[in-house]
């Protein structure tokens, strides 16, 4: 199970994250902590007129949390805040194992993390970036 879990999408985003960098022009930032391992992640977004025009993350974490955050940023950059919220809800549905195939398509590459629903110990890792996103969007509106 775990071997399928560490699939090419996940491994590639972990080894070569596009969005792991500082973002000096960010309009807002927020940090999240995974208390089980002490990993922390800070999410930076630049939001203009309700649209996420750019984003990045910084911090250390396992392959699951890093890849998940990187995939999340791929998905939400260029979208509106409302669309990002909707994707965030879909992601929580997916990792609780309550998702239709159609909804899964909307999540694009994030669907590579679907099997985390079967690994309770890793749900916190996969959702670290997304939980931080939720917190950040809530504080911005």
């Amino acid at each position: 199970m775990t071997d399928n879990f560490y699939n090419e999408v996940l491994i590639d985003h972990n080894l070569h994250p596009m969005h792991l960098h500082e973002l000096p022009q960010a309009s807002c930032s927020s940090s999240g902590l995974n208390p089980t391992c002490g990993d922390s992640l800070t999410l930076h977004l630049n939001i203009e007129n309700g649209v996420i025009t750019d984003g990045s993350f910084t911090g250390v974490g396992c392959a699951v949390s890093q890849a998940s955050a990187d995939i999340m940023l791929d998905l939400i950059i260029g979208r509106t805040v409302d669309e990002a919220r909707h994707l965030n809800e879909l992601f929580s549905k997916m990792i609780s194992g309550e998702m239709t195939d159609q909804e899964l398509e909307e999540l694009e590459e994030a669907g590579a993390l679907q099997s985390v629903a079967r690994m309770p110990a890793r749900v916190k890792c996969a959702s670290l970036g997304w939980r931080t996103l939720g917190k950040l969007l809530d504080s911005e509106t």
Binding site: M1, T2, D3, F5, Y6, I11, D12, N14, L15, T36, C37, G38, D39, V60, G61, C62, A63, V64, Q66, M119, A121, R122, C125
Partner: protein
């Protein structure tokens, strides 16, 4: 040569399981499980109170278990053996009671920086509440706490020194006997956490000369929910109770109460007789195999794993560079792979290891490591377990996309 995997039903229920997380909790042999079941089937009643035969049998089972523990750790009297839930509760009991009697404003409390949070947070809290100062003793790069370092750290104000006999990260045995002597000369109480040592080494409180010693049953093949606090009698006698309630009183009026004799003063409420019986059975099991034979076996397996791991350039072992300093505990990092991913890959191959900060965050901060992976041995492990561990270990980087 010890070969006792067959005594442990968990390995029948999970064929091929390689269990390398005994420092977190050990598996239980049938001898312990049967002793607990026997107690509940034929001797169970509320001990101490009932004036009938079954209650007397429960009392006897409980007190026999206490005597078994006393003899095992070499305490002078059963009055010095207090049953608790686990080492964490033992240390909290101790801290709560000392905090209200002995620890004063301006005191210094000294703790080894590698302490498990359970031998750190109580003292951190006591220091805050009493206006005392919490100080830290740091090890050298090999994970050793030297006598010189302790000498330099002790001051006339050092009220107490908290240290594990074996660290749950380094696996290294600290020179508790020499530390206790230094503390005695300095008028400092020494609190020893033996949770990680007692499954692997003979522990004798008299030889060690410690004032207090705590351990859990569940790490030494007993059920969860039973632990021990040893304390020197003259110290325990002066200390106020921890929990108040049933079984711990002598006489109660509306306004006042006098408390029971040791050790009952510290055992409020209905006690865990089944757990104590299980702990006694676990001690009997370890004694039957022989403590020296257990140590010899575990040290040989540690060496087997350690030497091969040392040859892998992408593996970094935390603590001593000598296998014999590790006592069945090897904590390590895999270059480029997060410990959670390391543990998940081991899991997919049927191997249980621990990943995270192992309840020792200040040590990880001191070492500059975010988190780590730990393999730890029990008396049931064998050469095949080590071989499978090493086999998987060598595939991890490739499976995470490196060196392809």
């Amino acid at each position: 040569m010890i070969d006792c995997k067959a005594d442990f039903p968990v390995f029948g229920a999970h064929k091929g399981l390689v269990y390398l997380d005994s420092s977190a909790t050990a598996q239980k042999p049938a001898q312990v499980l049967e002793a607990v079941q026997r107690y509940y089937q034929s001797e169970n009643a509320n001990p101490f109170r009932g004036l009938y035969g079954l209650s007397a049998a429960a009392t006897e089972a409980y007190e026999n278990a206490r005597e078994k523990v006393r003899a095992f750790i070499g305490a002078a009297s059963v009055q010095e053996v207090i049953f608790t839930r686990n080492a964490t509760e033992s240390l909290n009991l101790l801290c709560y009671s000392l905090s209200r009697s002995v620890i004063r404003e301006g005191d210094e409390l000294l703790a080894a920086v590698s302490e498990h949070h359970s031998n750190l947070l109580p003292w951190q809290t006591a220091a805050k509440e009493r206006g005392a100062r919490l100080c830290f003793l740091e090890p050298d790069s090999q994970g050793e706490y030297t006598l010189e370092a302790l000498k330099a750290a002790l001051t006339p104000r050092t009220r107490l020194f908290a240290i594990a006999q074996v660290s749950n990260i380094f696996g290294r045995e600290n020179n508790i006997r020499a530390f206790a002597e230094l503390c005695r000369q300095n008028g400092t109480l020494i609190v020893c956490d033996a949770a990680q040592s007692i499954p692997h080494l003979p522990v004798n409180v008299n030889d060690l000369g410690v004032d207090f010693l705590a351990f859990s049953g569940h790490k030494m093949y007993a059920p969860m929910g039973i632990g021990v606090l040893y304390g020197r009698r003259e110290l325990l006698e002066k200390m106020p109770p921890f929990l108040y309630g049933g079984e711990m009183i002598e006489y109660v009026t509306r306004e006042d109460a006098s408390f029971a004799e040791l050790p009952h003063k510290f055992e409020a409420g209905t006690v865990n007789v089944g757990g104590a019986v299980g702990l006694a059975a676990a001690i009997g099991y370890m004694e039957q195999l022989g403590l020296e034979a257990i140590a010899e076996r575990e040290n040989a397996l540690t060496k087997l794993a350690f030497e091969e791991m040392s040859c892998l350039p992408y593996i970094h072992i935390i603590g001593s560079g000598r296998a014999e300093d590790h006592h069945g505990i090897i904590t390590f990092t895999v270059e480029g792979v997060h410990p959670h991913d390391v543990a998940a890959i081991f899991d997919s191959d049927g191997i249980a290891v621990r990943a995270g900060h192992h309840c020792a965050q200040p040590l990880h901060q001191f070492l500059g490591v975010q988190s780590s992976t730990r393999m730890s041995l029990g008396l049931y492990n064998d050469e095949q377990d080590i071989e499978r561990f090493l086999q998987t270990l060598k595939t991890i980087r490739r499976r995470m996309g490196y060196d392809r």
